[in-house]
């Protein structure tokens, strides 16, 4: 009997304490609903779909311009091609970190923007005239980085480059084929997302492996750690180059056009936009991963985790802007500035891979490696 009484008392006490707690909580009104499905749907509708759409349009225009150029090579047509190449690869930065679902199925990133390219392989393919771009062994000889090479061949003034395409129909055909393949892949992903979006938006009952949130966070963190921090800066700077860490300037993104700084900034801005739920078309803020992190009250050094992430991205962008020359030269001439930049980029890795995943209850399913 006594035991029964004690148990009863404990239970009573417990529930009274609970009801007090509950009253306060409802009065204090510090709980907000968080609708994960709404967040994912917002991200899909206002970021992912329009971003793929923009990229598809850019690849279409690029392909058209290249068509014009190879049919009738001229310095002005070449300039047009280069302009469109720049806007295409800038649009690419907005979708590069969406490597899940349709993009992951075909390995879009490796097919689109692998660097450094193998210039001798490109030449070989041009000479043979019947290369199969779908072969993985040709990934280093196609995509946006091959266009970078083909539109900016070193030691070839513009007039010589025009003459080169005038005289070599196989070079012209190869440039055209590479641009067309970019367009086709973009169209394929764009089409698949039209149906994939339904499943994706519905796949939000939890954040387990394979759920929409898990896919998004893993893809973002993986892309940043391996392809941005390491690929765009770490490797060219020599951080991963054996024991001596000799810089490897030829390993920067878009080496031939020397466009890497701008692309790095676009990349960080796109990630910022994505993390904060800013719409691609209307620039309006909607529900985002950062809101989700705020909802679960994720903190970092006495501030919100979302604020820490945003300010770290801002720091990185500022430091890229402070470089006085293209990255490939900066890693030689301004190594200390580049090292500071790399350290800032390194600091963002745990914010995404450790803090954000922990806050959102997502398990990291990838491993940082050379990523191809």
């Amino acid at each position: 009997m006594r035991i029964q009484h004690t148990i009863l008392m404990i239970i009573c006490l417990f529930f009274t304490s609970l009801s007090c707690e509950k009253e306060c909580k409802t009065d204090c009104d510090d709980t907000v609903d968080f609708d994960r499905k709404e967040m994912v749907t917002d991200i899909t509708t206002h970021y992912i779909l329009p971003a793929y759409n923009t990229y598809l349009n850019e690849t279409n225009s690029l392909s058209n311009q290249i068509d014009v150029f190879v049919t009738n090579p001229s310095v002005s047509a070449l300039a047009n091609c280069r302009d469109h190449w720049q806007s295409t690869i800038t649009a690419w930065q907005s979708i590069a970190f969406l490597e899940f679902g349709p993009a992951e199925n075909i390995g879009l990133r490796s097919q689109t923007n692998l660097f450094p390219v193998d210039t001798s392989k490109i030449k070989e393919n041009i000479n043979s005239g019947n290369s199969n771009l779908a072969l993985p062994s040709n990934y280093v000889a196609k995509g946006l980085q091959s266009v970078d090479y083909l539109l900016y061949i070193p030691n070839m003034p513009d007039s010589n480059l025009v003459a080169y395409y005038e005289n070599s129909s196989s070079a012209a055909a190869y440039l055209k084929a590479v641009a067309d393949e970019l367009k086709q892949n973009a169209a394929k992903i764009h089409t698949e997302w039209q149906t994939y979006q339904t499943d994706f938006n519905e796949n939000t009952t939890n954040n387990a492996q394979g759920s929409a949130v898990s896919d998004i966070v893993n893809a973002l963190s993986s892309h940043y750690e391996t392809f941005v921090r390491k690929g765009k800066v770490g490797i060219p700077l020599g951080v991963f180059n054996g024991f001596t860490q000799t810089p490897m300037p030829a390993h920067v993104e878009s080496y031939f056009s020397e466009y890497s700084n701008t692309l790095l900034i676009s990349q960080m801005e796109a990630m910022h936009q994505f993390l904060n739920g800013v719409g691609i078309v209307d620039n309006t803020e909607r529900m985002s991963l950062n809101d989700y992190a705020d909802f679960v009250e994720a903190k970092k050094d006495n501030q919100k985790l979302s604020a820490a992430i945003n300010s770290q991205i801002a720091t990185i962008i500022d430091q890229v802007k402070s470089l006085e020359m293209p990255l490939q030269q900066a890693v030689i001439d301004q190594p200390e500035t580049c090292k500071t930049l790399y350290e800032s980029m390194q600091k963002l890795v745990p914010l995404l891979k450790v803090d954000l995943t922990s806050a959102l209850g997502v398990l990291i399913t990838y491993q940082d490696n050379d990523g191809d």
């Binding site: 404990i10 907000v32 024991f243 745990p350 491993q367």
Partner: protein, 428 residues
């Protein structure tokens, strides 16, 4: 049950993933000699586990099956601490206890076909020791919950529940802090009291209902594998002999095999003095082991010194990142280690949050690079004194990531063992 668990393990391809694919294994201190047997070997081990679990279930060559199961299961668990789970430890212990108790001596194939004496009665201790083991699991899981994070902050439950707001019916309550407190306190109360409730005759049915509800609820909310099933099944032992006899009668009717009700046969152990001493020691060890953490300074959840083998279930939320750097004390330059080259994603993830594994991996790196030839454009030398440092970043309960290991410590020079690890950053 053991059969299902083993089968699930094999079907999910985990044998290959966990015990064949990795190139490095995190062994337990003192058990570094435990090595996996290669692809064929490991599959044979798991096949034997399957067979022996059937042996235990049917009571065919029971003692041999139980011993085989215990030895193999424990062997598999000892290979790599990456895969440590409290319920695997529990399975090891129970299978060990099954060797001692005569659970294969009634309603078994042994008594039917091998003409071993069927015992209808067994001393109380043989059942009590299993009850004790189950009680320990619950009670210490409860004791482990009596900490600041669990009771006062309702962590990590509060964080986990926030992601469950779209669960059916109960979902809308998940956003309230009070729900987390309810779960946290009820969970602790449940764990602490359930062994005693199950022991009392009057409340047993109520207690068992609680067991079933509790484990089904946790299974719905968290990815915890077979643990709920194991516990729901095992706690049946608390029920009376009559109840189990009824079940047996029911099953035997189904198979129309009648068990001859012979005269009362009592199981007696011949080495009783030795056994008594052993069991007393075993019980003491089980009661003391979970408290060994008090011998270490610092936050237990941060340092994880004395964390394993203590029934600390679902207590922490911890994620980490570790990047290793190797230099040679006599040379300039360094190398950043690509963890993927040596570890599986799961191993890397577990290693990054657990200091003892970080140290083990650092020693592995030291041995890997020791005497290796470093040849570059500007220099060429043999590494004789590899210095291993780690840039680590760990978050506990979403309080913001911070370094777990002092960044300038040469881990190659730190020793493994049960002493306090001074190179762990302090948490508070």
């Amino acid at each position: 049950m053991l059969f299902i668990s083993t089968l699930r393990f094999i079907l999910k391809g985990w044998v290959y993933e966990l015990y064949v694919a990795p190139s490095y294994y995190f062994t337990y201190y003192g058990f570094d000699w435990v090595k996996p047997l290669g692809k064929v070997g490991m599959y044979i081990v798991f096949a034997l586990l399957l067979i022996s679990s059937i042996g235990i279930l049917l009571g065919y060559f029971y003692k041999f099956s139980a011993t085989l199961f215990f030895v193999l299961f424990t062997y598999v668990e000892l290979i790599d601490k990456t895969n440590y789970l409290n319920h695997y430890y529990f399975v090891s212990l129970v299978s060990f206890l099954l060797i001692i108790v005569p659970a294969g001596r009634y309603f078994s194939l042994d008594t039917r076909y091998r003409r071993l004496v069927s015992y209808t009665h067994t001393p109380k201790w043989t059942i009590d020791i299993i009850k004790f083991q189950l009680g320990v699991v619950y009670f210490f899981a409860g004791v482990a919950k009596l900490n600041y994070h669990w009771l006062i902050e309702a962590q990590p439950l509060a964080n986990w529940l926030k992601h469950q707001t779209d669960l059916a019916i109960v979902g809308p309550f998940m956003k309230y802090k009070a729900t987390a407190y309810l779960f946290a306190w009820a969970g602790a109360l449940y764990d602490l009291s359930i062994p005693f409730i199950l022991l009392s005759h009057r409340f047993r049915l109520l207690g068992y209902t609680a067991v079933v509800v509790f484990h089904i609820l946790t299974a719905m909310m968290f990815p915890i594998g077979v643990f709920p099933l194991v516990m729901i099944g095992s706690t049946l032992i608390f029920f009376s002999a009559e109840y189990h006899q009824k079940c047996i009668d029911f099953i035997s009717k189904r198979f129309s095999t009648d068990i001859k009700v012979e005269q009362k046969q009592v199981f007696r152990n011949t080495h009783s003095k030795f056994l008594t001493t052993f069991l007393v020691l075993y019980v003491c060890a089980q009661l003391l082991l979970p408290f060994r953490y008090v011998l270490y300074p610092g936050n237990l959840f941060w340092t994880e010194q004395g964390f394993r083998f203590s029934w600390r279930v679902m207590l922490i939320e911890k994620v980490g990142y570790a990047e290793f750097k190797i230099t040679d004390s006599s040379q300039p330059g360094h190398i950043i280690v690509d963890n993927a080259q040596y570890l599986t994603p799961q191993q890397e993830k577990m290693m990054a949050t657990q200091p003892d594994m970080i140290l083990q991996y650092a020693h592995f790196l030291k041995n890997t690079y020791m005497h290796s030839q470093i040849i570059t454009d500007s220099m060429s030398f043999t590494m004789i004194d590899p210095v291993v440092t780690v840039n680590s970043s760990v978050v506990l309960f979403n309080e913001g990531s911070r370094p777990l290991v002092l960044p300038h410590i040469n881990l190659a020079k730190e020793e493994r063992g049960w002493h306090h690890k001074k190179w762990i950053e302090s948490y508070d």
